[in-house]
Amino acid sequence: MKTTFRSLAGALVASLLTASAAVAHHSFAMFDRSVEKVATGTVARWQFNAPHSWLYVNVKNANGSETLWSFEGSAPQSLLTRGITGSTFEPGATVTISYCPMKDGRPGGGLGWARLANGMFVNPSDGGCDGSPTAVEKWKGWLAKGYTSSAEAQKAK
């Protein structure tokens, strides 16, 4: 029984990892996937292109200035099957997203989930960050407590 569980766990985890790693066309080495953050801003552009989509968002800084952030998501061929189209993020719309930041600190990251202005969550992520239903559920709890990074949430535990 123990062996069966070990095999099952190993095989299933391997399958999922393999599946996610295979989706994208390039390495995700630029993103720190051990960190998840949340940002809210206005959509500058939703670039629904293959091999990767990009969501560009203007995010307000503490001093009132704005920074254009760039978030990489999955390819249209994958996103269409998740109900995401070229008009899901319209310019000027407010959006909240989760992301795994670029390791070098530039204003960008791998896109996780996104919450649209109507409150609906969608999953535009590729292998750069986790936008799965599991991640959304986790973050719903964290957002309710006011956390904006996985580090904050884990520290509070």
Partner: protein, 338 residues
């Protein structure tokens, strides 16, 4: 911490994730991408061992008595959209398949095994191989083409088949009933593929390929890489149509002995329902991923070298020169410079 209890939780959580985030009949197979449509895939090794792909192909051609002569009305039709439906790829090189596994011994020659172990070390220690040639928008090429996701089309004509992946795009041409030709005297990303029909099975032989890699976490292949493939459409209850590709890879530089694998595609019904049509997504002008300082990264808007996939052409003063006519957004650095 009790390891077995933890593993049990991992199994349960992972299974739940698979079941609740996937189409109803999907259960992933180990080492598979999009696997689980239809029964588990099984590798079918060739009827005997062959030293070269030529020898293998000629044996199959002779067994098929020169091949079935198809006409425009008899040639098997695989029209429509297809997506990947699993493969045994990782099992060929990693034991057990999955990112916790180890490089399988006895498959690769010493230099290729050494190089692969370094790639695998990066994958396991850094969580990602730092370099991927697709970063630069190099073509997918073969054999990687067999694994790539996105959408596929397969067009069969009596004298030629077109095997298409929309990424790139990557188009393979199979010349039916012909001999290999290489008038350019060089190798290429998709090489030269000939084939014949054996009833409803398409048998191919590919050679003259550029050295490349299967994927960023897979072994490298040499310029002597060749293959023999057998394609067949199979149907499983209740309504699964799966194109199964039994492949034998030959590479005297990279492999100790030929490697057998199976790849599959299923009908992309959900893509068709979502209105997907294959486009020419041009990677080079829309991609900002680069290999820099030893790792993959991306140029962002406003940075030197940033390419705006939806900016303006060289002639922004002319009306209608935006590549984003619906929303007409602009980003820093979004205009091409003359």
């Amino acid at each position: 911490m009790n390891l077995d209890r933890s593993l049990r939780w991992v199994a349960v959580a992972t299974f739940a994730l698979v079941v609740f985030s996937a189409p109803p009949n999907l259960v992933a197979q180990p080492g598979a991408f999009g696997g689980g449509y239809g029964p588990p895939l099984a590798v079918m090794p060739p009827p005997k061992a062959f030293a070269t792909s030529d020898e293998h192909y000629k044996f199959l051609l002779a067994a098929a008595k020169g091949g079935t002569k198809q006409t425009i009305t008899s040639v098997p039709r695989w029209d429509g959209l297809w997506v990947t439906a699993g493969n045994s790829h990782m099992s060929s090189f990693i034991d057990p398949p999955g990112f916790a596994g180890k490089v399988r011994e006895g498959v690769l020659t010493p230099p290729y095994e050494k190089a692969y172990k370094e790639r695998w070390r990066q994958q396991q220690e850094l969580g990602e191989v730092q370099y991927d040639r697709l970063t630069h928008c190099e073509p997918v090429g073969y054999p990687r083409w067999l694994l790539e996701p996105y959408s596929h089309e397969f067009v069969n004509l009596p004298h030629e088949s077109y095997l298409i992946n929309d990424f790139g795009p990557g188009i393979r041409r199979v010349y039916i009933g012909q001999e290999h030709k290489n008038v350019y005297g060089t190798h290429s990303w998709y090489g030269d593929t000939i084939g014949f029909w054996d009833g409803d099975k398409l048998v191919t032989n590919t050679k003259y390929l550029l050295p490349a890699d299967f994927t960023r976490w897979s072994p490298m292949t040499s310029n002597q890489f060749e293959s023999v493939e057998t394609w067949q459409l199979k149907k499983y209850p209740p309504d699964v149509e799966r194109l199964e590709v039994q492949v034998t890879f030959y590479d005297r530089h990279a492999f100790i002995k030929p490697v057998n694998a199976v790849y599959a595609f299923r009908r992309g019904k959900e893509l068709e329902a979502a209105g997907h049509r294959v486009q020419h997504w041009e990677c080079e002008t829309s991609n900002n991923d680069v290999f820099d300082k030893g790792t993959t990264t991306s140029r962002l808007p406003g940075e030197a070298g940033f390419k705006d996939a939806r900016g303006t052409t060289l002639f922004p003063e002319l009306p209608g020169q935006s590549r984003d006519p619906i929303y007409n957004t602009t980003l820093p650095g979004g205009k091409e410079s003359k």
